[in-house]
Assembly symmetry: C2
């Protein structure tokens, strides 16, 4: 910076003014400084600039490496954060890097706030974290008062899905339950509500987050005789639905003719032309945006927070659901 200043014949402070794009430099000087910087290949050091500044304007994001849907939320966060002059510090969770490790890193970087995507941390730990800096949990519902939650209205989404299946004429509708995965509880609730509303008997099988869990459930579905077999399945998520569907097809069952299959999330693979999975869409973009809004509100106070942290789900009817055959 010193060198740039010398070359442009100005003070270091002026160079700073130019690079921060704040008023206080004439247009001609500005160009001069920029030219000098370009010649020297100078680029400001963000770490130093953050040190000198009172606010770091950094948002930590803890997410699961390799989780497609998390990646989509991160994309939304990148966009929303960029719009408001915040930087995003990613901290990935992987088999060898625990969520605690990831949180520790975010803390050490002096982020001003943190968003946890689909966290599996204990409420106690989350509460402690929230005591240190503004925290928002995306995807996972939490009853910790100091933590903002941004999530999809999953219960409503599943209700809508069951309504759709019922509307097609299905009665034996099974739910592949996500256990204690983030989002599993409200989906279960929505399923039960809708089944009750239509006077149908709920039935659940163990599902999960991955294709494998869906494939396992296929065995149990096929164990029934055709007359008792469920005619429709609402899987915990898309990957689970995909795994189920492929296992069923491989065993010779036709989808949707013999069994309707639906997922949740609307990941990219669900929309592929050859798949056409009926599913409940979560809007990752909106989730990311809302998370950033909430944190901004906590940090800046000024702007009104989004009225709610709940994003509506959208039923995406594609090709894997149809009226039952007989």
């Amino acid at each position: 910076m010193e060198d740039v200043a010398a070359r442009a014949g100005v003070s270091r402070a002026l160079v700073s003014i130019v690079f921060r794009q704040v008023p206080g430099a004439s247009e001609s000087t500005r160009r001069h400084v920029l030219a000098a910087a370009a010649e020297l290949g100078y680029q400001p050091d963000r770490r130093a600039s953050r040190l000198g500044r009172s606010r770091t304007r950094m948002l930590g994001v803890v997410f699961g490496l390799g989780h497609d849907f998390h990646a989509e939320v991160v994309d939304g966060i990148y966009a929303a954060a960029g719009d408001h002059g915040y930087e995003v510090v990613l901290s990935g969770v992987s088999p060898r890097r625990t969520e605690s490790d990831a949180v520790r890193a975010v803390l050490a970087e002096r982020c001003e706030a943190v968003v946890l995507i689909g966290t599996q941390l204990a409420s106690r730990d989350i509460a402690e974290l929230a005591g240190r800096l503004p925290t928002v949990s995306v995807l996972r519902q939490l009853r910790v008062p100091s933590v903002d939650v941004v999530r999809t209205d999953e219960a409503a989404g599943l209700e809508e899905l069951v309504d759709h299946l019922h509307g097609l004429g299905h009665e034996r509708i099974v739910h592949l339950d996500g256990g204690n995965a983030p989002g599993a509880a409200p989906r279960r609730r929505g399923y039960l509500t809708a089944m009750n509303r239509w006077g149908l008997e709920p039935a659940s099988l163990v599902g999960g987050l991955t294709e494998e869990s869906g494939a396992k459930a296929a065995d149990q579905i096929l164990a029934h005789t055709a007359a008792h077999r469920p005619t429709a399945v609402a899987a915990f998520n898309d990957r689970c639905a995909l795994g189920l569907m492929h296992a069923l097809i491989r065993r010779g069952l036709h989808v949707p003719e013999e069994v309707s299959v639906a997922g949740f999330d609307d990941i990219a693979a669900a929309g592929y032309a050859h798949v056409g999975l009926t599913t409940v869409r979560q809007d990752p973009d909106r989730l990311g945006q809302l998370a950033v809004d909430r944190l901004r509100h906590r940090l800046e106070g000024g702007t009104a927070p989004s009225p709610t942290g709940v994003v509506p789900a959208t039923l995406m009817i594609r090709k894997t659901t149809a009226p039952p055959s007989a």
Copy 2:
């Protein structure tokens, strides 16, 4: 830090010594300082510590958000970097955040070196980047002299795969080509080499990175009469293979009885029990480790670099390849 020093009755420098875990403090003082820090909830600020240090020991990692295989490589990098006291700065590429954006961020953070995973950047840009700091390209082969490349021996992998298929008795073996995706060229080369070796006629169809591309190829395969239809397909990667396979099964073709299908990468989904995709395994862990080793060598000079940046591929024979039916 000042507060901690005051509370422990020592100088700031001593607190620094304790937290950096370097010699120069007695065991009792060390405990004293740590206790004082704990009471005050003090945690050192990494950004400031890096500023004061000559070396930042930060490795920038540019990767595709939502690319499963990239995520696995990142995990390997986290592990290898941690072992040698380096920190990892993730910079994700997404639809709205270009690779150039990601690289710019890494530069502004003053990372000491950068690893590009499956980069799509123009060689010119990569060369320029490499002129500024040590750069290694993982997955993508590059003929830029200043850039280290760490990749799988993809040509050998595909040769081995074709050998396997030929050994099963296949003759009409088709390759779903990845176009200009990272790794497509060597896979193509390996395919052609092996086909030539066995005197078989090579045939390629357009494949790609996603399930969708595989599903599209299925149409073309099914356009052949059974007598002329390929009996085995080597897809560009696992996702492409999975898409192809599901499309084929859905059309009533049996895998592997009527068509053998194989992929590349060995992503988690390939290994699921209900899938059992025969594939060529890339070792993401090793790739990540090698990338870090190379950068360490460039940065520290001392340690001998790994002899080669090429990781062997491993043929994983599972259930989707079998002798041709006739």
